[in-house]
């Protein structure tokens, strides 16, 4: 979610809450013999802060039921961002800016990590989509990259087969674990031989299982590779070569997309589980606090 002008009311409200909280805290911190969760105000901070955190955590539950008409997810997301952001000052006020001991300290650290990852995530969500849009014009659905890739292999196979008559690629049984392609090719002076050779030995392994170390994974070296290939082939094949090049480009973009998608979503691996842990421990903390 991009934080833009449409967030103004949220920002104002958050600022107001923050100001109120701070305003209440100042005399409290000055006047009260002690600060912290045990005091009335501290407890109040704790309750409100926990409330925010709980709401913020509920986003993931809300996402499980996308069509529930319980407020637009977007609103929830805004709440997630702003109330989540507010929860830190409130919890700090609750704790009197102390990290506490034992569980409380673990909570604080967890909270810090969750918060930091959240900030990081917000930043990523702010920037990565633009980068993906810019760098991966042939983007597809992340979950379908494998599927699309298989279709690209098919497309390339067909392309080469169409261009050069037949393509006999025997893939050894997967059980053997070998990735080397056994190929049977005609040996006569066939103008398409360089194409097939290139395809079977270089491009197909790349398209099938792209690796970043493969020469075709690099735009420049791939372009060079195709430039070398072209003069070996009759002009009539150049269209096919251009198509293959485009397939490689798509392949590269898919790799890039997978990578960028990983970056865009990896923080969630930290954020979400830890926030659940945080909630679990926070509840333990609350129980402890209520009991003792």
């Amino acid at each position: 979610m991009i934080i833009d002008r449409s967030h103004r009311s949220w920002a104002v409200a958050s600022a107001a809450i923050l100001i109120v909280a701070l305003a209440a805290y100042v005399p409290y911190a000055v006047g009260s013999p002690r600060v912290g969760g045990g005091t009335t105000l501290g407890l109040a901070y704790g309750i409100v802060g926990f409330g925010f955190m709980a709401f913020v955590t509920l986003l993931s539950l809300r996402k499980k039921f996308p069509i529930w008409r319980i407020g637009r997810t977007q609103t929830w997301m805004r709440g997630h961002l702003w109330l989540g952001a507010l929860s830190l000052p409130l919890i700090l006020l609750h704790a009197g800016f102390l990290f506490g001991h034992g569980l409380a300290s673990v909570l604080m650290w967890l909270f810090a990590v969750v918060y930091a990852s959240g900030i990081c995530g917000a930043w990523l969500q702010h920037t990565m989509p633009r980068r993906i849009l810019r760098d991966v014009p042939m983007e597809t659905i992340y979950e379908q990259i494998g599927h699309v890739r298989a279709q690209l292999v098919d497309e390339a196979d067909r392309l080469v087969a169409d261009a050069s008559g037949r393509l006999e690629v025997a893939v050894p049984p997967a059980a053997s674990g070998a990735t080397v392609l056994a190929t049977v090719m005609r040996v006569d002076a066939d103008v398409t031989a360089p194409l097939r050779e290139f395809y079977v030995h270089e491009m197909r392994p790349f398209v099938q299982a792209p690796s970043r170390s493969h020469p075709l994974a690099n735009e420049t070296s791939a372009a060079g590779r195709f430039e070398k290939l072209r003069p070996l082939l009759p002009v009539s094949l150049h269209a096919a070569v251009a198509d293959l090049e485009s397939i490689c480009e798509e392949e590269r973009q898919l790799m890039r997309q997978a990578r960028m998608h990983g970056v865009l979503h990896a923080w969630l691996l930290v954020h979400v589980p830890l926030s659940f842990a945080l909630m679990a421990l926070a509840i333990a903390h609350i129980i402890g606090a209520l009991r003792y």
Binding site: G31, G102, A104, A242, D243, A284, H285
Partner: protein, 442 residues
């Protein structure tokens, strides 16, 4: 060119793909369950192992350190409703501690833990924050009647009322004329032993003050004792009244002084009957007592009477140096006649001067305690402006601001209420018998 129409792109997609979670999402699910589970297991593990440290709110005070791992010592659940809440009860505290009440008509009667907050580290529980006091004293209400003290007390140095003694217009209630400036002159004072430079401590000494009713708590040490004639004044301000008698008159009530003078003279003449007729040595008479041209005494009684009158006159004038004479009183004294028959007792009524009571204040701040001991590194005059004081009525107590020079939050010296004031009225304290043995906590 490869044709990539929207439709072709869309058709590449397996329509049910979203039902299968990709690695990232799967890991998110796994971790979302695993990590909270680990967290719960961690906390539950401690609970199972009986280790309470993780959910201790913090280390307990040094005094209670012995019970740090035994929560139930304080968190008794016996009286908790439904058995869940285990807040620290008054009873738990009072098991070991005597905590007399504050004042009878205070409005709320806070629980111990309201002020003495545990789990805040190795602190002294007695040192409670001002807020707790200010809560009430900031806007004091009482159950009944108007409070005798300021009802709006706040932080020391700013919202704390000026010490009553040091307020504008306050006067020292003492009646003893004492010119501090005169005594504290740098040139010293002339005494019988020559020029003497006086130190404050020559007159003022710290003293212990015990609670009036024999309670166990000392009120405070290090108050200054009141100056004392015998110790501090007599050396210079002697009460000799006759050159023949070495013993000075006692520093006592006038009638006692009269009796003592007469007794001393009677005893002297009895011992020296020859001197009845011997006139006084004019050189040894006080300057303002010119020798009377009168005939020699006829008898001892007359001699005593004459000499006693002189001596008393002298002495009363001496009293007037320090004490304020309020008039005369009539007292009945025994007849000063030669006693033929000692069994006969004849009394006469005489009049003697009367003096105001001295009213020397020994404790200026009655609601607070001050200990001079920690302040010994200071010069007395740093706080007490005695050097220039010429009048008894001058208040020499420092003002609040003087204290706040150091006793301010920003200056380091303790400025909280408990520094000077006591919450518990220790006058009402009583002994408590210990409920635990040390071995309980081994």
């Amino acid at each position: 060119m490869r044709i990539r129409t929207a439709k072709m792109l869309a058709e590449r997609i397996d329509l049910n793909y979203f039902k299968r979670a990709p690695a990232l999402r799967r890991w998110r699910y796994i971790l979302s369950i695993a990590i909270p589970a680990i967290a719960v297991l961690w906390i539950a593990g401690y609970a199972a192992a009986g280790i309470r440290r993780p959910y201790s709110a913090g280390p307990v005070s040094s005094a209670h350190a012995f019970a740090e791992m035994k929560c139930e010592v304080c968190h008794t659940s016996a009286n908790a409703p439904a058995g869940f809440r285990a807040h620290v009860s008054e009873k738990a505290c009072l098991t070991c501690h005597d905590a007399p009440a504050h004042v009878v008509n205070q409005t709320p009667s806070p629980a111990c833990v309201n002020c003495h907050v545990e789990h805040s580290g190795r602190v002294q529980l007695a040192k409670v924050g001002d807020g707790l006091c200010v809560d009430c004293h900031g806007d004091l209400k009482t159950m009944q009647g108007a409070p005798a003290i300021s009802t709006t007390v706040g932080r020391f140095g700013s919202r704390h009322p000026e010490f009553a003694a040091a307020r504008e217009g306050a006067k020292d209630p003492g009646t003893i004329r004492f010119n501090h400036a005169l005594h504290m002159t740098k040139d010293g004072v002339r005494s019988l032993r020559g020029i003497e430079i006086l130190q404050c401590t020559d007159c003022h000494k710290a003293a212990r003050i015990l609670p009036p009713q024999g309670g166990s708590h000392e009120l405070r040490v290090g108050l200054m004792s009141a100056a004392n004639y015998q110790q501090n004044c007599a050396r210079c301000h002697g009460l000799e009244f006759d050159y023949r008698i070495e013993q000075p008159a006692p520093h006592d009530k006038p009638e006692a002084v009269r009796a003592a003078v007469r007794t001393a003279l009677q005893n002297y003449i009895a011992a020296h009957p020859s001197e009845i007729i011997k006139p006084d040595d004019p050189r040894r008479l006080p300057l303002n007592f010119p020798p009377a041209a009168e005939p020699p005494a006829r008898n001892a009684t007359e001699w005593v009477a004459r000499r006693a009158d002189n001596g008393e006159r002298l002495l009363w004038s001496r009293c007037d140096v320090c004490h304020a004479r309020t008039g005369t009183v009539t007292v009945t004294v025994p007849q000063a006649q030669p006693v033929a028959d000692p069994r006969r007792s004849v009394t006469v009524t005489v009049s003697v001067p009367a003096f105001a009571a001295s009213h020397i204040a020994t404790r200026w701040m009655v609601r607070a305690a001050f200990d001079h001991t920690p302040h010994l590194m200071l010069q007395c005059v740093d706080c007490h402006a005695a050097e220039n004081s010429q009048l008894t009525s001058d208040i020499l107590m420092p003002k609040q601001a003087t204290c706040a020079t150091c006793h301010a939050p920003s200056r380091g010296a303790e400025a909280r209420c408990f520094e000077c004031h006591q919450y518990h009225d220790w006058r009402k304290s009583h002994a408590v018998s210990p409920a635990f043995k040390l071995t309980d906590f081994r």
